[in-house]
């Protein structure tokens, strides 16, 4: 018995070491750091209790970042997931050039985000960018997509959706392919309409995939900020500052370790809460075969 448990621990060890070294230990030190001031030069960090959190509550940029991130999540998650499902259904049917369309849908996923951001930077360029160019055929004028507070964040959302939808489509496509064809035949015999079949059979069978995709989409809504770094650096006037970008800025531009640690703890808590909601509430309603 003891030998077996030793063996089990040894088998777990590699994964455990990596997890502790790169996930749990940094998380724990971050939480500790969030209660101290930023060390500067020869001044060591000083314990300040929850002062950093109090400061954060009165930091207007934090609230802007939080609001922006909420808007970003509320748009990117459903739009990319629904789009992924629609694309998967489209390429799951027999049609000419199916492989080509599938590949086209999946291409954005394969491109590195930095490259994607640079491509879209060109699309959004005022006057001679792609969008302004197309709009000019219909008499549209100059649009400063990334320089205008009203369009900057939607522009970021569009890039994220474009990048993500193809990735999620692959999961839906795999799930659709795994669906036994006799269900469809059976439904046809029963005289069920296509919409009814989709609503009563396809959707429930796709629920495990949907949960997986949703979890990923939620994480990405807080994780995907590379394009913000390349395209707007959080501007104009913080219109595209997302939480993770603000953490980066606090940590590596302002060298404010205390603020960065505090922000990270808040983000960690937020993600924890969302994960609990998804697995605890939504997970119970998912039907696994």
């Amino acid at each position: 018995m003891r030998r077996e448990s030793l063996q089990a621990w040894l088998l777990l060890l590699p994964a455990l070491v990596l997890l502790v070294a790169f996930t749990h230990w940094p998380a724990a030190t971050t939480i500790i750091d969030s209660f101290y001031t930023t060390p500067k030069g020869s001044r060591p960090p000083r314990f300040v209790g929850i002062e950093n959190y109090a400061d954060l509550m009165s930091d207007p940029v934090f609230w802007t970042a939080l609001t922006n991130n909420a808007i970003y999540a509320v748009w990117t998650i459903p739009v990319s997931v629904i789009l992924a499902l629609v694309m998967a259904l489209a390429v799951n049917t027999a049609m000419p050039g199916r492989a080509l369309v599938r590949m086209a849908y999946f291409t954005p996923t394969m491109l590195p985000m930095i490259a994607v951001a640079n491509i879209w930077l060109f699309f959004y360029t005022p006057d001679y960018g792609l969008f302004d160019h197309i709009l000019s055929w219909f008499g549209g004028g100059r649009h400063n997509w990334l320089g205008d507070r009203a369009t900057a964040l939607p522009a970021m959302i569009a890039v994220a959706v474009w990048k993500e939808a193809g990735f999620f489509m692959i999961f839906y496509l795999a799930a659709l392919q795994a669906m036994p064809p006799d269900l469809k035949e059976c439904a046809a015999l029963e005289g069920s309409s296509r919409w009814n079949f989709f609503r009563r059979v396809t959707i429930p069978l796709l629920m495990p995939t949907t949960l997986f995709v949703l979890v990923n989409a939620v994480i990405n809504a807080f994780r995907l900020v590379d394009h913000v770094v390349v395209m707007t650096r959080g501007g104009p006037d913080n219109a595209t500052t997302l939480l993770l970008y603000y953490i980066y800025e606090a940590g590596f531009r302002f060298w404010d370790q205390a603020l960065a640690a505090t922000l990270t703890v808040v983000l960690l808590g937020l993600l924890g809460l969302l994960a609990w909601l998804q697995f605890g509430v939504l997970g119970k309603r998912v039907h696994y075969r």
């Binding site: 500067k40 006057d127 001679y128 990334l146 104009p236 590596f252 531009r253 302002f254």
Partner: protein, 438 residues
Amino acid sequence: MRNIATTHRTLPRRTLIGATAATLAAPSILGAQGKTTVEFYFPVAVGGPITKIIDGYCTEFMAANTDIEVKPIYAGSYVDTLTKAITATKAGQGPQMALVLAVDAYTLIDDELILPFDTLATSDADKAWLKSFYPAFMANGTIDGHVWGIPFQRSTIVAYWNKEIFKEIGLDPEKGPASWAENAEWTAKATKREGDKVSRWGIQIPGDGFTYWLYQAMAAQAGVELAGDNGRRTDFNSAGAVEGLQFWLDLMNKHRSHPTGISAWGTGPRDFLEGTTAVIWHTTGNLTNIKNNAKFPFGVAMLPAGKRRGSPAGGGNFHLFKGATPAQQQASLRFLRWLTSPEKAAAWGMATGYVATRPDAWETPTMKDYVAGFPQAAVARDQLAFAVPELSTHDNQRVAKALTDELQAALLGRKPPKQALDDAQAAATRLLKPYQKA
């Protein structure tokens, strides 16, 4: 917490002794140990002409100084370079030198990462060297009576104008706008409207990326210095500061010669080269690019005068990091003295459009020939007489961002200029509080 400046004042003595000893012993030590390697970070985002030029200088220097090996490490944008230099130094693997924005000196000093040059460069020749640069370029790197930065990749803002357009609208094509009034009137005239659509703008001043830098020129022209008291105080909301911002907003809303909102730093030169904008304010670092690509005659002017002329000095200085051994410190100094010699400063200026950093560089025969054939190159030099140091304070990145955010809010019409600048001043005051003398 208070006055961080005092802590590093005590420090240089030990390094000084070490360095002097090293200077005396240098030839024998170097002979015995072989090469001294010096690494430096340099801000280049992608390979290209700049990388080639710097690599060329290093090879040339090493050929003449066989006991030293210099290794440039190209580290991305200015901000990236600073980030990498700080992180690497804190991890104990930093470079011996790095070229970062002159305004980030406070950040490096407050984190106790760099050494002042004047404590190492102590010979008479060294002292003369430190005095050989334009004072406008030394200002940002001179803090608490010490010299922390050696100017190299320095620039300033100038106005580029399209002579063809000026001729077309009946202006003297050989004269750029010299005053705020001329600037407003002439650029309004150069703006071409067809109904609601604008096919040509009179002027563009970039509002992203370096917003505060461009704005600082206007504030200087309105007679205001944005920072003072050794980087502990800012003056963002005085009447003059508001007047400076109003000048920018008036171009958009009153004279309607500037696109509303935020004009992009990156596309400004292209709009100018395409002829869709008559005048742009941009860095002298773009001079060579515009010279090589403009299909029309263009002029370079000093920025127009409000109460006075004014343009902030900008760009990067070399900083010496603490991790360097005495031998590396001396090797770094030798490299910098060579790199900033009049001939090299002139060559660098001609190759890139950055402003040659010392008066005697402009007296070299090659530079004289160059200016004779391309007088636009000398405008930035002449403007140095009116230059102000770039906005630089403790916690500089943050103070600059606070100002940039509020300026953008004003440019986007979300806040009236006075309120935006009041808010920027309040934010800066809060950020600078820890640095006030107790």
